[in-house]
Amino acid sequence: MNKQAQAVILLLIGGAVLRASLSGQYLNYVKAGLQPYLIAAGAILVVAGAFTLWYELRGAKTARGGDNAHGHAHGDDDGHGHAHGGPKVAWLLLAPVLGLLLFAPPALGSYAAGRSGSAVTARSEYAPLPAGDPLSLTMLDYASRAVFDKGVSLGERRIQLTGFVMRGPQDQWLLARMMVSCCAADARPVKVALDGELPDGLQDQQWVRVTGRYSGREVTDNVNGEAIPFISVSDVTLIAVPQEQYES
């Protein structure tokens, strides 16, 4: 790969990263907090590509003038054995560029959630719930209070949860949401089973907002043996896919 092609690859990756981080597409892949770093990295890549092109074109001009500056273009190689142009392995960088720009895969959903066990973690103490009716909680907060606090701190309060629906261990409907701490490779689902009247024709992966109360029932996740608490729902609203699909 010669330097001009290398410059184009750098511009492409930088551009793809910038586009993803400015458009919100990055939220399908990494946590929101990475945005400033993604923008900075994309900008540096674009600048590196621009300088490569600039030095290369300037170098080519002086080379024609009889200077030996063009020697760099060929002497660039470095004992790895890729004698002509840059590293061959750099071609592979086209794969993520195309992945980001052309195919833009969606955020992880029910398929990935079904393959991993519900990742509820215990907390050392459960503070009383803040005011609000219905009170909106994260899936993890609800599941953790339901499983490890046995619903004591939930009481009779009306709770609102947001997530997508999927089929559970005994074919009942579950509400699920993926939690991401860094990127989708570490995504873990939190699952809550739905009790009560659900809309007809519910489709896998449909996003919903449910309002309901803690019911005391539990079912076991057959992937990791973890408990999946129920919520007894009084209201289910179908909603559009939110921009930030992961809980962090």
């Binding site: 001009q4 960088l93 490779a185 570490d186």
Partner: protein, 335 residues
Amino acid sequence: MTVTEEHVPPAEAEAPPRKRWRPGSVEVLAALLVLVVLLRGPITRSLATPALQTWLTVFVSVLTQAIPFLVFGVVLSAVIAVFIPPSFFAKALPSHPALAVPTASVAGVVLPGCECASVPVAGALVQRGVTPAAAFAFLLASPAVNPIVLISTAVAFPGQPQMVVGRAVASLVVACLMGWLWQAFGKGSWLRMPSRAHLDGMAKWPAFWASVRHDVLHAGGFLVIGAASAAVIAVVVPKTWLEHVASNPVLAIVVMGLLAVLLSICSEADAFVAASLTQFSLTARLAFLVVGPMIDLKLFAMQAGIFGRRFALRFAPATFVMAILVSAILGPVLL
């Protein structure tokens, strides 16, 4: 930016010194891009199954997450290679390698990031004349013992500060042991480092950008291989079989170590995954946290790229065995 805008360069790409015209890499690149854009529909349809879709999402995610750290590491390594004189490291590190190794391990605290940044930086250190044993200790320690990773470990294991201590201590021990092991048995001929002779004759800034360009393309290309294989593992390995191995304490440690290698999760996030694998003992989860930042699929690919394949084939298995042994011994003591 759209892809179509990028097709402009071919016009100016006729490299002057060629005698006979044959397609250069810019032409190949342009043709490839046009082809993929034209075939976008069929390719998208063939990727529509949930498993492939999940693979693509995980693949793109691992790379998106790694790129800021890679760029950060590459810029830092370019600064080391171009702006910091070798004499600085001669002064900063004890001259005796046996002492330089622990000093370099502890110095890993200052590189706040994950493992993608550490490989190019360690490469630049070796080129700047730092003794390889110390550079490798830094390479192994820095992704595990820096403040960001330790804080995220504390957050993932609330009320269990011994996990943070265990991770830091075990990682430093493994890094030092591997550094000394290299000092005792390592051969310089296993290393195939890029010679940066071409940077020497250049002015500072052109050399800086040349170093950034080379390292991004090189380490980045290998990162793609690592991310693709890690995404395969994420899709193929069913989490249910973990249940069966968790009950055997010895097997559990080895399996968690292997899982850390295969999953290739960023060291800033691996503690959260370890915390969610509740069926495993704390020692087994410690092995996961010690092995992951030191050796995994994407690190192996990047190490092979920066230091050469002969090096990576020896260094990676040794690191794995050392990390497992140290975790198995220190785990019961510290946790």
